[in-house]
Amino acid sequence: MSTRPAAGAPPTRPATQGRARRRESLAALGMVSPAVFLLLLFFVVPVVLAFALAFTNARLVSPVPAQFTGLQNFRTLLDDPLFYKSLRNTFYFAAVVVPLQGGLALVLALLVNAKVKGVNFFRTVYFIPVVTSMVVVSILWTFMYQKAGLVNELISHLTFGLVHGPDWLNNPSTSMPAIILMSVWQGVGFHMIIWLAGLQTIPQDLYEAADIDGATRWVRFRYVTWPGLRTTRTFVLITITIAAFSLFAQVSVMTQGGPLDSTTTVVYQAVQTGYAQQQTGYASAISLVFFVLVLAVSLVQRFLTREKG
């Protein structure tokens, strides 16, 4: 408990000061209220509704008001084979993308974290996919992933005609890896910049000290760079995980969940149920499960990467 001055004005204070204080409070309330009102309307209410509607049979457009159906939606969900596939695919995607994208981003950051000429050019190029919309990227790669498309031509060239690539998006065993590769390509530049910002907060004299001790590059990385990136690491890990769990646009544009449901994800299924089939209640139940999932995973990550000692 901190000892703060009492809210009531001390008797010595002139009345005008109390009035100014009150004016300040009123002005402040006026200034926060537009943002607070909008956040209440478009964040708090829908989040509360996600909980409430999940227990009803609400439909997007319906003449009949929504009815309370208890746990019915969740029971349906547990018997829905598609939901298990969605969950499996979502975890598959996240489990590969998080280490791959995080690791590649760190490699990129280390490569461009040098004070040499031209390094800015490389930063810019690596970042270009990030500012390109995921929808455009998905369409572009759909073309490149065709059986006789650019990716397979490249593979064929690089292996001197020995390997002929598959029909990436129409094969259940390659569809998800194809989406993963493309997603990493698009997003990795973002996290490169985050790592880079983290790298630049590491005091330079630590490196100088390591050099005087004759440390090898690996030792420098292991004992100076890696510990210095701890908070950045947590941030990168959590943002990539949440983004990975939210996989939607790529699936919607490239595969519509196919082939054989090999790319359907939790968010994709929720949108299909809620938007295409208009079953808001059931979709809210899926969203709720998704929310709990995201929350649990980021809490676990935060716990595992917590400050030790």
């Binding site: 200034m31 478009f42 509607l53 000429k117 270009i128 500012v131 880079l196 938007y275 998704f290």
Partner: protein
């Protein structure tokens, strides 16, 4: 760049030269990996389909050679109201950015520079909203905006109409207030000396006057950051307008291109449309590269 020096080469020196060459080679290889799809898109948008496919097996796929024309671009405009989609996206993004800067900076001003009860709670609550991804409440939000009233002009009468689906406001208002923007402004405003406010108060300035004449003019970098971080998702938004917009004349570019894609047009036209909606952003990015990068970097700064 490591330049060869006249000094006699020692093994250590040689190794570091080799290493920097390897690093440079890696940088170049990665640059090719990140650039090739975009280059391919831009180049193909100028070629007829036959040539796009003919050039696939060689380096020509990435070079603007052969029969180049803008036919694909005019083809896009012939098939879909692409100009309308572009205008919609420009308008929606611009309004979201302007309102977002205003609303969030105003809130951040009150939260960082004024004394009032409950401010800590409001700040904590606003920041707490950051951990919830949009996808988790997008569907209840669709249902909710469909219940909201909006003023409608009927001849000379103003009436209340129910339901925001298929409007412009539904594409703008939910994205105006943004916890992250409030947070960025808040951090920035705290670096501006509070003595300025006190002096202005003594001179009789109102709080809004201090915000408008003192704090905002000093906050260029924060405003640029929020503008960028609001513009990008607004321009690239897809999931939300896909669910709430049905009419063709309200469609933004990303839903427009997905719709166009499903019409099975020629690939050249798809590349033309893709280029059209990507090049403006790329141009902005190159022009404001420094601001872009620092705005992304600041999003990783621990709060």
């Amino acid at each position: 760049m490591t330049s060869a020096s006249p000094a006699p080469a020692r093994p250590g020196r040689q190794r570091s030269l080799l290493r920097s060459l390897a690093v440079q080679a890696a940088r170049i290889a990665l640059a090719l990996f990140f650039a090739f799809p975009i280059v391919f898109m831009l180049v193909s948008s100028l070629k007829p389909d036959q040539q796009i496919f003919g050039d696939l097996d060689g380096i020509k796929a990435f070079l603007p050679v052969g029969h180049l024309s803008l036919d694909n671009y005019s083809g896009v405009f012939d098939r879909v109201p692409a100009a309308r989609f572009l205008l919609n996206s420009i308008g929606i993004s611009a309004v979201t950015v302007v309102l977002g800067i205003f609303v969030n900076s105003l809130a951040a001003f009150a939260l960082s520079r004024m004394r009032w009860r409950g401010k800590k709670i409001v700040l904590t609550a606003v920041i707490a909203t950051l951990i919830v991804p949009f996808e988790t409440f997008a569907l209840p939000l669709v249902w909710w905006v469909n219940q909201l009233p909006w003023l409608q002009v009927n001849g000379f009468h103003l009436t209340l109409a129910e339901g925001w689906l298929d409007t412009y406001q539904v594409q703008i208002l939910p994205f105006v207030a943004n916890a992250f923007s409030v947070f960025l402004f808040h951090q920035y405003f705290q670096s501006i000396p509070k003595e300025l406010d006190e002096a202005a108060v003594i001179d009789g300035a109102s709080w809004f006057g201090i915000y408008r004449r003192i704090v905002m003019p000093l906050s260029g970098p924060a405003i640029a950051t929020v503008a960028i971080l609001t513009f990008l998702p607004a321009w690239n938004s897809y999931l939300w307008p896909l669910m709430v917009v049905q009419s063709e004349n309200l469609r933004p570019v990303m839903v427009g291109i997905q719709y166009f894609f499903q019409l099975n047009p020629s690939w050249g036209q798809i590349m033309a449309y893709s280029s059209m909606i990507t090049v403006p952003v790329l141009a902005l990015f190159v022009a404001f590269q420094r601001a872009f990068v620092s705005s992304i970097a600041s999003s990783g700064v621990k709060g």
